[in-house]
């Protein structure tokens, strides 16, 4: 028994011995720290590789069927689909009458310059007995003046003081074709006839504001900016004479076709802001149960549910793969996500609703996907009536559900925790690469001085020792600051559009390399400039990627793809032609968009001027300079290190 006890008592001591080793605890600690540092340093290439691989693979895996969960309503006050709707065929008839009038106006080539459409809409609202007004506006842009006339009406809430409001809007141009001229006549007719119908009920606890905005995005931008009294220097708009309360939620109606088969939900707002998920979920629940028709994310009809739909998967794939249900599911989800990322990364609004997001209004567009049937005004009216009743129930702003999510299917979404790590891992890999470069810059292997002691540590068999050397920190930081200042200049040049894009490209890609020739490079005992510049470049780029991911995941994912590996792989080369080729390649990556996608550039600048989307300044001032820094790293002739 005492022996057993002794053995038991000895266990902690032996454990300690095992874990900490014998002898001086300080020495053991130092040894442990050195061993850890050595492990980390030796393993760094592997760690980087693993982080990059897992990050990029995670990005690719986002659409897979294993991820995602069912959507649900989080805010109890909403009670979607719990009301009986009274929208009837009489109201549909009235909508048809309005539509006939609108079509007549269209056939007579009525233009907004003459206020004809807006005056007609105001007349209709006033006939119903709702106060309505027009608002003329004009935007000055580089391309010229964009002008039009909005019409809006405010139905005072019969039950409350009108401190809160719901907006029901339709734009004159439909979002189908991104405002290329397709008219949203049925959307406008729906809103007008809905106004007449909703006025009959005394249950509204919030003001209902009906807006028929001119143009596609410009009209609503003018109206909502004026409504909130926000100053926009290039906007000249009449003040609004009818006012209402704080707008909490809004729904925008888009019905471009003759009739429709599915209801698509568009939700991406300006600068990547999304509405609260409760709003989307409520409307899609109501659409399915009250309206009795299927819901789509955007206007993507699932080819598995509906015959005669174009395949998503490329036709050259073997049938074995094409018929695999997992692959099909992946393709369907990937299509939704790619579309979503296209909107969000650009900071573009996927419909008129997106403009309201900048004033903290949760808004979506319901899009009647054009088809030959079977649905029309009747279904749409019922859905809108029930949705408005649901929004009317709100006691506070929508806040319970998610603001950061990926909607992979009409009833499936991903939480931020399940997709954010992909980009963060790539960012971390870049950070580690940068830190590795920083250590590389500070230490160098020096040959042993002649006649030195032979009593070196066994690990340094070669006899060379690690020597610390100074790092040209200030010079590297100044070069980075200079490139970002150059980015500011680039932004002004591009947005004023005074100079031809090709000339701008040539000028701004050549300028950094030429300017670098004037910089005195640090002398050999100090670290090569290229290493320090690359270290800082990677660290800064990693911070930009990680932090953008919280604000706008899609943009961060795009940055992770365009900057992650290219910036990490930037390196000099001994031969001059190779260096020039590399520099040219990186210049194209940084500024190629100037020449390769002029239409995209024009749109981005219009978006900045009119809607305040910060993609254009971000690309010019943050992205392009970061890649140009990598280009400079390639041109700098690496000294012997």
């Amino acid at each position: 028994m005492p022996l057993a006890l002794q053995t038991l008592r000895a266990i902690p001591a032996r454990l300690r011995q095992r874990l900490r080793g014998g002898g001086d605890p300080n020495a053991a600690r130092i040894r442990r720290r050195q061993a850890l540092a050595n492990k980390a340093w030796q393993g760094l290439p592997l760690i980087k590789l693993v982080l990059f691989a897992v990050g990029y693979l995670w990005l690719l895996a986002i659409p897979s069927a294993q991820f995602g969960q069912r959507t649900y309503i989080d805010e109890n006050a909403l009670q979607p689909g719990q009301v009986h709707t009274y929208w009837s065929w009489n109201d549909v008839h009235r909508a048809d009458r309005v539509l006939e009038d609108l079509e007549r106006l269209r056939d007579h080539n009525a233009t907004s310059d003459e206020y004809v459409i807006a005056n007609y809409v105001v007349g209709e609202f006033e006939k119903i007995g709702i106060p309505a007004r027009t608002q003329h506006y004009a935007f000055d842009t580089v391309d010229g003046v964009t002008e039009g006339t909005n019409a809006y009406a405010v139905l005072q809430s019969p039950r409350a003081s009108g401190t809160e409001a719901i907006v029901i809007s339709a734009s004159w141009l439909s979002r189908a074709g991104d405002g290329d001229g397709t008219l949203n006549l049925r959307g406008v007719a729906t809103v007008i006839s809905l106004a007449q119908y909703l006025k009959k009920y005394s249950l509204w606890a919030k003001d209902l504001v009906f807006v028929i905005s001119d143009g596609y995005l410009d009209g609503m931008q003018a109206w909502i900016t004026t409504y909130h009294g926000a100053a926009q220097p290039n906007l000249h708009a009449e003040p609004l004479t009818l006012s209402s309360g704080v707008i909490w939620t809004a729904v925008n109606v888009d019905y471009p076709g003759h009739s429709f088969s599915h209801l698509g939900i568009f939700f991406e707002g300006l600068n990547g802001r999304l509405p609260n998920q409760d709003l989307l979920n409520s409307v899609s629940l109501i659409t399915r149960h009250t309206g009795g028709l299927p819901v789509l994310v955007h206007d993507h009809i699932d080819p598995r549910d509906t015959p005669n739909q174009p395949e998503i998967l490329p036709s050259w794939l073997p049938d074995v793969i094409k018929s695999n249900p997992d692959v099909q599911e992946y393709a369907v989800r990937a299509r939704n996500i790619v579309r979503h990322m296209n909107y969000q990364a650009r900071g573009a609004a996927s419909g008129v609703h997106g403009l309201l997001h900048q004033f903290r209004i949760d808004a979506i567009t319901v899009f009647a996907v054009p088809a030959t049937g079977p649905h029309g005004f009747h279904s749409l009216g019922k859905i809108l009536e029930s949705s408005l009743r649901t929004m009317n129930n709100l006691l506070e702003r929508l806040h319970a559900s998610f603001f950061f999510f990926l909607l992979v299917g009409p009833g499936t979404f991903m939480k931020i925790g399940s997709y954010l790590p992909s980009v963060i891992l790539v960012g971390t890999a870049m950070l580690f690469s940068g830190l590795g470069e920083w250590v590389n810059a500070g230490w160098t292997l020096a040959a042993p001085p002649i006649g030195s002691d032979e009593k070196k540590e066994p690990s340094q068999a070669s006899g060379a020792t690690w020597v610390q050397r100074p790092r040209p920190v200030l010079l590297a930081v100044s070069i980075m600051a200079a490139t970002h200042l150059l980015g500011v200049v680039l932004f002004y040049v591009v947005s004023s559009r005074l100079v031809n894009a090709t000339v701008v490209f040539m000028l701004f890609s050549a300028l950094p390399a030429l300017a670098l020739q004037l910089v005195p490079l640090p002398a050999p005992p100090s670290a090569p400039l290229a290493t320090v510049l690359k270290a800082f470049n990677l660290c800064f780029a990693s911070a930009v990627v990680s932090i953008t991911s919280v604000l706008n995941f899609s943009l961060a994912a795009a940055l992770a793809v365009f900057m992650g590996l290219p910036l990490t792989l930037a390196s000099s080369s001994p031969s001059l032609p190779k260096r020039i080729a590399k520099y040219a390649l990186y210049s194209v990556l940084a500024l190629g968009w100037l020449v390769l996608c002029p239409e995209e550039t024009r749109k981005a600048i219009w978006n900045w001027e009119v809607l305040g989307v910060w993609l254009a300044p971000f690309i010019c001032i943050v992205y392009a300079p970061l890649v140009l820094q990598a280009a400079l790293v390639c041109t700098l002739h690496a000294q012997s290190s």
């Binding site: 300080n26 600690r29 130092i30 802001r273 999304l274 997001h357 903290r360 702003r397 603001f403 950061f404 950070l431 830190l435 920083w438 540590e457 020792t465 660290c539 800064f540 911070a543 930009v544 990680s546 932090i547 919280v550 604000l551």
Partner: protein
């Protein structure tokens, strides 16, 4: 004019130019750039009330010192045209004081680093932006540096009067009293590498302390005379002790006290306030050979734990690193500190706008970013303490390590 003077004038001129550029009005209301105690719009409001015969301290919004009130309502009127000049001047004075301290520390009349020291102060975004937002923390920074500069020169009265003004403007700065007193009776030359016991006679600080108290009483009497009552004391000094205004700021206090049950409040207010004081004596003892360094560390403590900080406070601490280039090789993790600061300075405005503008985030987002910022400041502070002590051991041979027991 020689080289450094040209650099200095160019920097100040550039700053003035930016100050007159059309800046968004939102800058003045940014939570990170001005706190309720330093906000420009509140200062303007207080002056307006004062000029119209209403006691500005009877409300809850004006918390500036009566000294600023009397200065700006009489001698220096605040208008959109004069304010940028005044604030740029405050920064220029501060930068000049920093350069003077640097010269006194090296004992040279002019050094090649003068321009760099000035640039590190004038171009530091943490100092630059609050100054553009016309936060009165820029004036506090200038006073702090002036007081240290006078102390380095051994001009006791000037130093103590400036410090008394500073304490009037911002009570937590009283932490700097002990190092200032000790700095007056010693010399500011760098002895970090050669520590020795405190040389001067400590009894000499007693008359200086009395002088400081005298200035304090004088300023208090003047303030009471200006206001006609004692309400100002509760509204200005009391705010630092009782935290009545929980407007978010980049510090660590506000969120803690928004979450707190009322009956714990007095206790934790006491803990938070006393916690600031406990650093003073140990740091002054540990760095008794180089009191300027002790003052630097205490400014770092203030930047981290002050009740109503703005970005100027960490900015002052970080800019003061330029006075001690001898510690650079001994910093343990400068790149890590720099990276945390980089992330924090991007996260702070982002999460602030996600919470208060976009409405997709909430207070916890911003609080998380202030925590990251706090970690960054703490890392810088710890590293400064480490390097300041480590330098005394000097370079060790290969195969040897320095261990702290």
């Amino acid at each position: 004019m020689d080289g450094p003077d040209v650099t200095f004038s160019a920097l100040v001129a550039a700053r003035l130019l930016v100050a007159y550029a059309p800046l968004p009005e939102a800058l003045k209301h940014d939570h990170q750039l001005s706190s309720p105690l330093t906000s420009y719009s509140r200062l303007r409001e207080g002056i307006y009330l004062f000029d119209h015969g209403i006691d500005p301290y009877s409300g809850g919004s004006f918390r500036h010192s009566p000294l600023l009130l009397s200065l700006f309502s009489t001698v220096l009127p605040l208008t959109p045209y004069t304010s940028p000049i005044l604030w740029t001047a405050a920064d220029a004075v501060a930068a000049w004081a920093l350069v003077r301290i640097w010269r006194l520390r090296t004992g040279a009349k002019a050094t090649s680093r003068d321009g760099q020291v000035a640039a590190i102060y004038l171009l530091n975004p943490y100092i630059f932006l609050p100054s553009l937002a016309l936060s009165s923390s820029s004036i506090e920074n200038a006073l702090a540096l002036l007081s240290l500069m006078f102390a380095c020169r051994g001009r006791a009265s000037a130093s103590l009067l400036t410090l008394a003004c500073l304490v009037h403007l911002s009570l937590p700065s009283v932490l700097l009293l002990l190092p200032t007193l000790l700095l007056i009776i010693t010399r500011p030359v760098s002895r970090l590498a050669l520590p020795r016991p405190f040389g001067a006679d400590l009894k000499r600080t007693l008359p200086l302390l009395a002088e400081f108290v005298g200035y304090g009483v004088l300023l208090t009497a003047a303030s009471t005379l200006v206001c006609g009552n004692w309400d100002w004391a509760e509204k200005t000094w009391g705010a630092s002790l009782t935290l009545p205004d929980l407007t978010p700021n980049p510090g660590l206090w506000w969120y803690f006290f928004t979450e707190m049950f009322d009956h714990f409040r007095p206790f934790f207010l006491m803990v938070f306030s006393v916690h600031l004081l406990i650093y003073v004596v140990p740091i002054c003892i540990k760095f008794q050979h180089d009191i300027l360094y002790a003052a630097f560390i205490l400014i770092g403590v203030l930047a981290l734990f002050k009740p109503y900080p703005t970005l100027s406070d960490p900015g002052l601490f970080l800019s003061m690193f330029s006075l001690f280039p001898e510690i650079y090789p001994y910093l343990r993790h400068p790149i890590v500190t720099a990276l945390i600061h980089l992330h924090a300075s991007l996260l702070l405005p982002l999460f602030n706008s996600l919470w208060l503008r976009q409405g997709t985030g909430n207070a916890n987002f911003f609080y998380a970013s202030t925590l990251v910022f706090g970690v960054g400041n703490g890392a810088a502070l710890l590293d400064a303490i480490w390097a300041g002590l480590r330098i005394a051991i000097g370079k060790v041979e290969d195969g040897y390590e320095v261990v702290q027991e």
